[in-house]
């Protein structure tokens, strides 16, 4: 257990935890935003993340094949993010329209089953498209390391953590400061009252899906660049993990999902210091069960008092 106190290993694991935690958080936000407004778990959200990753992959492959990425690496990566966000947002909006909106007034189990169906459908669609093969993200930027004394940090990790924080700040400002964001919160609280204010509830729901999907797409490209290998099943485990993160933070609560993501990432990364790395998933889902038993509302789950 000596290595537990080794600052080098500890710091490295904390950074690993923050990196993966940021990615969990980005995906978790999609779950929580949709739950906040529709009270449904969009179990196809992991696949939206996967499609984003493939969108980025397609663009980067194209750009690296024609040599554009060698001359303009940063621009290429930005293009990959843009394409991924476009594809996933469109997918999210279509899913809502086709698979969830017709079930808006159905019992709560129906949209859930629909979501699982969509998830299986999207996995298989991508499997057909890629023939089930693993795809490798082209190597566009070399993974440099920043050395600070004994500490060596990957610039990828730093970029991912900063990127996640930037997107989350953007989301926070959007939700709390813009008119559309406030309308989203109003719709989440009371759909009928919101429509009595002249808010087009369907439009707000579509926007919610688009935003959640865009964040998942960004996470997808980050995962592609960081881990390099992607396949059609890549959305499954991160999807459930991010769902866990959302529940940890208090499902429906935006800051909670951010916190839950980082918390889960750190718990996993530090957990492997005391137990074999194969038990990583055990930590995540063990935490989920614990939270559900001890504090089902999650860390940031709030009780809103309604006066009559």
């Amino acid at each position: 257990m000596e290595y537990l106190l080794n600052p080098e290993i500890l710091t490295a694991q904390i950074i690993n935890g923050l990196t993966i935690g940021g990615i969990y958080a980005l995906i978790a936000l999609g779950y929580t935003l949709v739950y906040g407004i529709l009270f449904m778990i969009n179990f196809a959200h992991g696949e939206i993340f996967m499609f984003g990753s493939f969108g980025g992959f397609a663009v980067l492959t194209l750009l690296s094949n024609n040599g554009f990425s060698t001359t303009h690496p940063t621009l290429s990566i930005l293009c990959a993010f843009a394409a991924a966000i476009l594809i996933s947002s469109a997918l999210g909006a279509i899913l809502e329209r086709v698979a969830y909106r017709p079930l808006r007034d159905a019992p709560r189990l129906s949209p859930l089953i629909s979501a699982i169906g969509v998830s299986i459908f999207l996995q298989n669609a991508m499997m057909l498209f890629t023939r089930g093969r693993m795809q490798v993200y082209p190597d566009i930027i070399p993974e440099n390391f920043i050395e600070i004394g004994w500490l060596s940090i990957s610039c990828f990790q730093i970029s991912i953590i900063l990127g996640c924080l930037l997107l989350m700040t953007g989301l926070y400002i959007f939700i709390y400061k813009t008119k559309t964001g406030k309308a989203m919160r109003a719709v989440a609280e009371n759909r009928e009252a919101a429509s009595l204010m002249g808010i087009d509830v369907n439009r707000i729901i579509t926007i919610t899906f688009i935003i959640g999907s865009a964040l998942a797409a960004a996470a997808g490209v980050m995962v592609g660049i960081y881990y390099t290998q992607i396949n059609h099943m890549m959305g499954f485990i991160p999807g459930i993990k991010a769902f866990t993160a959302a529940v940890l933070g208090g499902i429906g609560n935006v800051p909670g999902a951010m916190l839950g993501g980082f918390f889960l990432g750190l718990a996993e990364a530090l957990g492997v210091l005391v137990m074999p790395a194969q038990y990583k998933d055990l930590i995540a889902f063990g935490l989920l069960i614990l939270v559900l038993i001890i504090r089902p509302k999650g860390i940031m789950g709030e009780v809103v008092s309604e006066r009559v």
Binding site: A186, M197, S305
Partner: protein, 241 residues
């Protein structure tokens, strides 16, 4: 002005189902511009259903609703708001996790022009000083009476031509009720047409000019409020003898 050819709001023979319940069985009411009309009736008579059908939350199976000549029966609720109809829903339904200011901003959702909105907000704060004091607080922290004021204020922010109020006195202390009703009267005097649903018929007859009595999905009676408050049946049923 006096010889208006068509009423401001014209509800003709509407039938609305609430789930499988035939809640409105051919209701017709009219409201003229500038009037305050009240709708009374016992629980389950269909008052809220009628209001929700006018504001578009429910759709009538049959019949038509015209507001300033525009058909409403197929428009979604959020479009009806932009035509100038605002509803203060039963049970207030304020956005309790939003601040008071944000609630008012939501009232102004359909409007453009920051300055006019800011001016209206100031006027509203003059009308309800309590809301101004607490404008940065989350609305869930307000008392019941303050929440009712906020619900009315929020609806006023849409700049309605027709304001629909669904039981504004519900659950409030008598002193507060008086306060709210004075405010409603003031809003009417300043030019808004009002449709007021009230369980407390006496209060309603005091400030409205005309009234409809709703009984199990049908209009049982229509008259001016003076006559209604003298009516024997009404006295027995709604005014406690």
């Amino acid at each position: 002005m006096i010889s208006q050819k068509q009423p401001f709001l014209d509800v003709q023979e509407i039938h609305t189902y609430y789930g499988k319940i035939h809640a409105l069985k051919g209701i017709s009411i009219t409201i003229n511009k500038g009037e305050m009309v009240t709708l009374i009736g016992s629980n389950g008579a269909g008052k809220t259903t009628l209001l929700n059908t006018i504001s578009g939350l429910l759709k009538p199976q049959k019949g038509q609703i015209k507001f300033e000549g525009t058909h409403l029966e197929h428009l979604p609720a959020h479009k009806i708001v932009s035509l100038g109809i605002a509803q203060v829903p039963e049970g207030r339904k304020i956005f309790s996790r939003l601040t008071i200011m944000e609630n008012l901003e939501m009232g102004a959702f359909i409007r453009k022009g920051r300055r006019a909105i800011a001016q209206d907000m100031e006027q509203i704060y003059d009308l309800f000083p309590r809301l101004k004091e607490r404008r940065k607080q989350v609305a869930g922290t307000l008392s019941g009476g303050e929440q009712q004021m906020l619900a009315i204020a929020r609806a006023l922010m849409t700049r309605p031509k027709l304001l629909i109020l669904d039981e504004p006195s519900m659950g409030l202390a008598p002193l507060l009720i008086e306060n709210i009703f004075l405010t409603i009267k003031k809003i009417n005097q300043e030019g808004a047409t009002i449709l007021l649903v009230e369980q407390n018929a006496l209060l309603a007859f005091n400030i409205a000019c005309r009234g409809y009595v709703l009984q199990s999905g049908k209009i049982a009676l229509e008259d001016n409020c003076d006559n209604l408050s003298q009516n024997k049946m009404i006295k027995e049923l709604y005014l406690g003898g």
